[in-house]
């Protein structure tokens, strides 16, 4: 399995290499939203603070959002929607390897490239701009890495499962857009959850949205403090990851039975 994965990732890496310029554009697209949000909160905070967030806190928060969003993002619903509608799924089903593995490998190759670019940019910016520097805390970074892996896995299954809805509807990607719109607020893309009305932030915590992005981001910036809060956050991530894996299994087994393939 490891050898297969090495081959798949190598393949995806080389394919991406041909589309370097395209990937830079997707990367730019991914960082403008947090950059603009940072610009607006920067103006609102002024010389004071908003709910405990001063300008430097916003800067750190949104730099962390750029990095962790890139590390956890998943495009799979768009791929699956196309595979299912155009019948590109057919030859993938004929392979002795579940199509999800190819998707995971692509995901990893893409993230290795884009996230490392963001990391380097962050380091360079941090040299010139003290506001975005993080305190040196290897232990915290290690826990963040675990949270990022869990979040990435969960977002992968959310995206993959939603893409599988293309077995039943032609608007699977629209559902994903809807999810993206909701996550703008609930996952903390437009503002730290602490700035949302408490009831809304509560919903984000009960559902999977906080686990997707806001929790790893708050871990990295140091907003989540105390073993108790960290364990509860990780626990929430594991529970929701389990739920989405289950949803994926149901959708896959039902969908594949329904699938007639193009021309079939």
């Amino acid at each position: 399995m490891i050898r297969r994965y090495a081959a798949l990732i190598r393949n995806a890496w080389l394919v991406d290499l041909q589309y370097r310029a395209s990937i830079v554009l997707w990367l730019l697209w991914g960082v403008t939203e947090p950059a603009i949000a940072l610009g607006i909160w920067w103006a609102i905070a002024g010389d004071g603070s908003v709910a405990g967030y001063a300008r430097a806190d916003f800067a750190r928060y949104f730099f962390a959002v750029m990095l962790i969003n890139q590390l956890t993002i998943a495009w799979d619903s768009w791929y699956l929607d196309r595979w299912i509608r155009d019948g590109e799924l057919n030859f993938r089903l004929a392979r002795p390897l579940h199509p999800a593995h190819e998707a995971v490998a692509e995901n990893l190759a893409y993230k290795a490239r884009t996230a490392s670019v963001i990391l380097v940019v962050w380091l360079v910016v941090a040299v010139a701009w003290p506001a975005v520097r993080l305190p040196f805390a290897p232990g915290r970074w290690a826990i963040t890495a675990v949270a990022v892996v869990l979040a990435a896995a969960m977002r992968f299954f959310i995206s993959f499962t939603t893409g599988l809805l293309a077995f039943w509807t032609t608007r699977a990607t629209a559902i994903m857009e809807l999810h993206a719109g909701v996550s703008l607020f609930l996952a903390g893309r437009i503002a730290p959850l602490a700035l949302l009305p408490p009831a809304v932030a509560g919903i984000a915590g009960v559902l999977w949205f906080r686990s997707m992005l806001a929790f790893p981001v708050d871990l990295l910036t140091g907003t989540v403090q105390g073993t108790d809060a960290i364990l509860r956050g990780l626990g929430g991530q594991i529970v929701w990851l389990g739920v989405w894996i289950l949803a994926y299994r149901v959708a896959w087994s039902r969908g594949i039975r329904k699938y007639g393939a193009v021309g079939g």
Binding site: Q18, Y19, A21, S22, L25, W26, L28, W29, T32, E33, I36, G39, I40, W41, W42, A43, I44, V50, A51, R171, A174, E177, L178, G181, L184, F185, I190, A191, L195, L196, P197
Partner: protein
């Protein structure tokens, strides 16, 4: 000899900006076909309207979140920015209905060589490429956007005077020209960077910045949006015209910016086209 050179220059200039009446007949024929085709897919209309309503709701919620923590943003209050959001949405309608389905396809066509089929047609290639396709359902974005702007003006208790409405007409037209010029520039770049099929993404990324008044941004971003990637002229200025904060000289400047942007875009397009070697090249 010199006179001859002058004449060719003049002829070139005329070539550059000549819009033959046959072009309009051609366009109306294309658009009629288009409308007939789109009318077969009426469910798309509902989906498109729902999508727009959802986008507007998200934008308004985002704005409410900002205003939960402040009373003004870059000197604008809540309903003033809603006017701006309405303008933004109307321009999004123009982009999605005309630009993306038309000129937005260019990068892919340069790559595949399909542009050959456009170039052999006896029409101006830029004009044809730009306006060949019309996604009529997205025109509802224009209606919804202007409706939202109108409602926000009502909530502001501000009835625009005739002069302000005329200023709005001028600046929104200038805004459309600027947006168009940005698309032409981006798509012209595809002639150099052939592998970049998703170059339109760059527009989407930058245009996000036009959701808020340019005065809300820190100095460096503001400079970028006013002078380098002139999206400040597309929403901030027309919205200012409606709310009555626009100074007349800025309105005239907007028209000048649009003219310059169009001229530069046209020039870049012509340079780019010379690089095109066709499908076999």
């Amino acid at each position: 000899m010199e006179q001859w050179a002058d004449e060719t220059n003049a002829a070139n200039l005329v070539m550059m900006f000549r819009v033959p009446t046959s072009a309009f007949r051609l366009l109306s024929a294309f658009w009629r076909l288009n409308v007939a085709e789109e009318l077969q897919y009426r469910a798309n209309f509902i989906a498109s309207v729902l999508g727009t309503v959802f986008n507007l709701a998200t934008a308004l919620l985002t704005l409410s979140l900002f205003f939960h923590h402040t009373t003004t943003l870059g000197g604008w209050d809540y309903w003033e920015i809603v006017v701006l959001l309405g303008v933004f949405n109307a321009l999004t309608g123009v982009i999605e209905a005309v630009l993306r389905p038309g000129i937005g396809q260019l990068a892919g066509e340069v790559r595949s060589g399909e542009l050959d089929l456009v170039l052999v047609k006896p029409v101006d290639a830029q004009g044809f490429v730009s306006f060949r396709q019309l996604d009529i359902w997205r025109l509802t974005d224009i209606v919804l956007g202007l409706g939202l702007a109108g409602y926000a003006l009502f909530r502001l208790g501000h009835t625009p005077s005739l002069a302000q409405l005329m200023a709005f007409g001028l600046t929104i037209a200038a805004a459309a020209v600027v947006v168009y010029a940005i698309w032409v520039v981006l798509m012209s770049l595809a002639f150099w960077f052939v592998s970049v099929e998703n170059i339109a993404v760059l527009f989407d990324a930058v245009y996000e910045g036009a959701r808020y008044p340019v005065s809300a941004y820190p100095g460096a971003l503001r400079f970028l949006f006013v002078y380098l990637i002139p999206i400040a002229w597309t929403t901030t200025i027309p919205a200012s015209a409606l709310t009555g904060r626009l100074r007349p000289e800025i309105g005239l400047a907007a028209a000048a910016v649009a003219g310059v942007a169009f001229g530069l875009a046209r020039a870049l397009w012509r340079t780019a086209l010379r690089r095109y070697a066709g499908a076999s090249g």
